[in-house]
């Protein structure tokens, strides 16, 4: 009896203890832990747009451009990690986090948020702009890495599978950009406002974004050309005709230069962070000198105090507020010219080639060039206008023009980036570095250098 009494007395305590345990169970997830007063969880469309815009500036203006430019023979990496890159040492660190940037903050996750919000708010222009942003980002990712997680991206499924590179390109050109062009054709007004002033390249101008969409589409078709041949070039031609045609239409990164966090990437890298790591490749400088090309002074300066080498990047381009061209009308005109040549439209090829030269202040070459010399002239011109963009390397991989001699004897020029460590270790669909392919699906090795008859390709 005594024992029972004792237990009865303890019963209320036991109930309290049980309540305590129940309360403890979700002490990490309940109530105030779910709301952080200092961090927002929702944002207006234009705020998200600007974040994506900055990511694109970085993706098209920072490390991938420098590394691929070294491989394309336009830059030399002379110190530090770039010395290794210059000798074609490629590791999972070489991507420097740019694979993750395709998907994480400012990447696809925010693009999808912006698209969903644009649909909810019936802002069709913003939706179209966000779709072009997606095509630029994912298209560049497919250029660098080849096969990419895309159709399974951000679905939440574990170990999302890779799509073949060509399937990614197709999804962008045949679906996404088609939708983007339709959405960008809706008249502005009402809820349909687009990015407006947040769009530092175009001020939200739908026509400008349509031209950019056509140019991006043409560019991707060109990247397919080595494998798909004339059909891809024909599509590229049709799109390039609708793309960027004057420098006022260029897609650019507009840096205020007011602080380092708003300064041009080449300025930050060359003049602030890594003086002397990256210098012009002298054979590229030679090419411009031989041509007596006016872009020599735009790109370079013969002043060692700028980088420690004989030639350095020009003061104007290594300035904190230099407006960096990312996707240009010069490139588009030459895509137009090359695509026309590849599909047998020689007069159109000559015309666009000369139109681009006129824009760059180079004398016209008349309409005399035909055959291989015309192709070589177009590709040579293109190599120059692709300066400081990833297209220099993309074009080299496709055409082997110019016929770059590798920096290391017996080694070929790197033709893709390795997926970064973080993704490989968290997604079993990504093969380990040693099992990844040497070249992407769109890019079998070239046997000859395009436009030069039977001249063997050295670097592929």
């Amino acid at each position: 009896m005594l024992h029972v009494t004792k237990l009865r007395r303890l019963a209320p305590l036991a109930v309290l203890a049980l309540l305590g345990m129940a309360a403890c169970k979700d002490f990490l997830t309940a109530g105030e832990t779910q709301v952080d007063p200092n961090r927002p969880t929702q944002a207006a469309n234009r705020l998200i747009f600007t974040g994506i815009q900055s990511n694109i500036w970085s993706q098209l203006g920072s490390d991938p451009v420098r590394v691929s430019g070294i491989w394309a023979g336009q830059f030399n990496g002379t110190q530090g990690q770039y010395f290794t890159v210059n000798n074609y040492g490629v590791s999972e660190q070489t991507t420097n986090g740019f694979h993750a940037s395709l998907y994480a903050g400012g990447g696809l996750v925010d693009i999808r948020k912006l698209q969903a919000a644009s649909i909810a708010q019936t802002d069709t222009l913003m939706l179209g702009v966000a779709q072009v942003q997606e095509a630029i980002l994912i298209g560049t990712g497919a250029d660098m890495f080849g096969d990419l997680v895309y159709s399974h991206a951000l679905t939440g499924e574990a170990n999302p599978a890779l799509d073949k590179q060509m399937d990614v390109y197709d999804a962008l050109t045949e679906t996404l950009l088609v939708q983007a062009l339709a959405n960008l054709s809706v008249t502005r007004g009402g809820t349909n406002i687009g990015p407006g002033a947040a769009d530092l390249a175009y001020g939200g101008d739908p026509a400008a974004w349509r031209r950019l969409a056509h140019t991006v589409r043409a560019r991707i078709y060109m990247h397919e050309g080595e494998v798909r041949g004339a059909s891809a070039y024909a599509k590229a031609l049709a799109e390039a005709r609708l793309g960027l045609t004057s420098n006022a239409q260029d897609f650019v990164a507009v840096y205020s230069g007011a602080s380092l966090s708003e300064a041009n990437f080449f300025f930050q890298f060359d003049q602030v962070q890594r003086f002397g790591y990256l210098v012009p490749n002298l054979s590229f400088v030679d090419t411009l000198q031989t041509r007596n090309d006016p872009r020599l002074d735009d790109y370079f300066v013969e002043d060692a105090s700028f980088c420690g080498a004989e030639f350095c990047f020009s003061e104007a381009r290594d300035a904190p507020d230099f407006t960096q061209p990312l996707i240009t009308s010069n490139q588009n005109l030459l895509v137009w010219a090359e695509a026309a040549y590849r599909t047998g439209n020689i007069l159109e090829a000559q015309t666009q080639y000369n139109a681009e030269r006129a824009m760059s202040g180079v004398p016209a070459n008349g309409l005399t060039l035909v055959g291989d010399p015309l192709l070589a002239a177009i590709l040579g011109e293109k190599y120059i206008v692709n300066f400081q963009t990833i297209e220099a390397w993309n074009d080299y991989k496709r055409t082997c023009y110019p016929n770059v001699t590798p920096n290391v004897a017996g080694v070929k020029i790197p033709a893709r980036f390795l997926y970064d460590t973080g993704e490989r270790q968290t997604n079993t669909s990504i093969p380990p570095a040693q099992d990844q392919p040497t070249r992407n699906q769109n890019d079998p090795p070239n046997t000859v250098s395009d436009g030069q008859g039977t001249l063997a390709c050295i670097g592929q």
Binding site: Q34, P40, A43, G105, A198, K412, T426
Partner: protein, 417 residues
């Protein structure tokens, strides 16, 4: 805090590269918000750990000897860490998770013997032995979790399943007998390294593969390259006290095992200021007179090839794959075993009546002690004990221009009233 929620970030220096060229998400007066790279986890549970510890102390021969034994086994589960997540899956790069299950087992033994305890002579000898074996049992599906915010790319600390916490991961040069298959020269043909190793004769497992130019090639396989945790540590101490006035004592520390990444050497090689770069005036050949302690055996077509003949050859090597910016960190991993003469001291107590009379103190103790007087080690850097981040750092075994422990001689006087 708030590790359970996913919020937006203002994206300060969010975009750019590891070289320090960064821009904010906000540009040119246009504000921005982006999804945070570290996302929350709504299913976090508390961490738990369980420890069993058993100990015993024994005294022998009328307290002339004592022995202490301790055995412990600690197991932690649901350890909360920010783990890398698939960006393609989640749109973020890190997430808090109950990700790790770890165990720590070890023994500690101490033995003290006092052979002489007479009035005028007291002699004591002691020894300690400690051994800890950590093991990462599971990592919520991941094979390893790098400690990305610490240490160096290429020699990054990690928790890797099947290893002790803190093992370093990185790349090595291609070795024979590992079954490696990769494209050595970007020519779109996968090379069978073991088959290439046979060029020139049979090879020993683990031999360094040398190409026709006599140089190794980087193996792109990310692997565990070093374990900074020692196999065991020991300490020996002794002291002799004579006439209750003069005391002599000594302390020796021993560490067996514990590998160190000698980043200091790698950087000095790159700059050409390390004594080992004096080899530039000689010819150099792997397996013969260069890096033979780390890569004693070589194989492949370059096994008898002189790789370096001119100072320029050496400079190219040290500024490239043979220095701090090379990809192979394994070449700078060294055994950090050591024996250290930690301290020798002598002290004397002055208690003559004259002291009392002249100074007004009853006794004065005079002590001279030398600390860290000598280190016996094969480690090539300054100090195998040095570590970049200090003891609270998860990643140990990183030597990168950190100060070695100082050698000091201390004279102390104690005045007792």
């Amino acid at each position: 805090m708030y590790s359970s929620i996913t919020a937006l970030s203002t994206g300060i220096n969010a975009f750019g590269s590891g070289f320090g060229d960064f821009i904010n998400a906000t540009q040119n007066g246009q504000s921005a918000l982006i999804t945070s790279f570290l996302i929350g986890n709504n299913a976090l549970r508390p961490e738990r750990s369980r420890e069993n510890e058993y100990g015993a102390d024994f005294g022998f021969f009328d307290q002339k000897a004592d022995l202490g034994l301790t055995w412990y086994n600690k197991r932690s589960t649901d350890v909360i860490i920010a783990v890398p997540v698939s960006a393609a899956q989640t749109g973020a790069t890190q997430q808090f998770a109950n990700a790790a299950s770890l165990s720590n087992k070890g023994v500690e033994v101490s033995l003290n013997v006092r052979p002489i305890t007479s009035r005028n002579v007291a002699w004591e000898v002691g020894a300690t032995y400690g051994r800890n074996k950590g093991l990462v049992n599971s990592l919520a599906g991941a094979q390893f979790i790098p400690y990305n915010t610490e240490g160096f790319l290429g020699a990054i600390g990690s928790s890797t399943i099947g290893f002790a916490p803190g093992v370093l991961r990185g790349l090595d040069f291609a070795r024979c007998g590992r079954g490696l298959q990769f494209d050595i020269n970007n020519d779109n043909v996968v090379d069978d390294i073991d088959a290439l190793c046979l060029d020139g004769g049979p090879f020993k497992n683990g031999a360094l593969y040398l190409g026709a130019d006599g140089l190794p090639v980087v193996d792109p396989t990310d692997r565990v390259i070093a374990d900074p945790n020692p196999h065991y540590t020991m300490g020996f101490n002794t002291s002799v006290k004579l006439m209750n006035k003069l005391t002599l004592s000594g302390l020796v520390d021993v560490r067996k095992g514990g590998q160190v990444w000698d980043g200091t050497r790698s950087a000095l090689l790159n700059f050409g200021t390390h004594a080992e770069t004096l080899i530039r005036d000689q010819q150099g050949q792997f397996g013969k007179n260069f890096l033979t302690d780390i890569y004693p055996d070589v194989a492949g077509p370059g096994r008898n090839v002189v790789a370096f003949t001119t100072p320029n050859d050496w400079a190219g090597w040290f500024q490239g794959e043979g220095g701090s910016f090379g990809q192979s960190s394994a070449q700078f991993i060294e055994d950090g075993s050591f024996v250290k003469l930690r301290e020798i001291s002598i002290s004397y107590t002055l208690d003559q009546p004259a002291i009392q009379r002249l100074l007004g103190f009853s006794t004065v103790d005079v002590r001279i002690a030398g600390r860290n007087l000598h280190t016996w080690t094969k480690y090539r850097g300054l100090d195998p004990e040095a570590n970049l981040g200090g003891a609270e750092f998860l990643t140990q075994g990183i030597d990168f221009f950190n100060n070695p422990q100082t050698r000091s001689v201390v004279l102390s006087l104690n005045f007792n009233r």
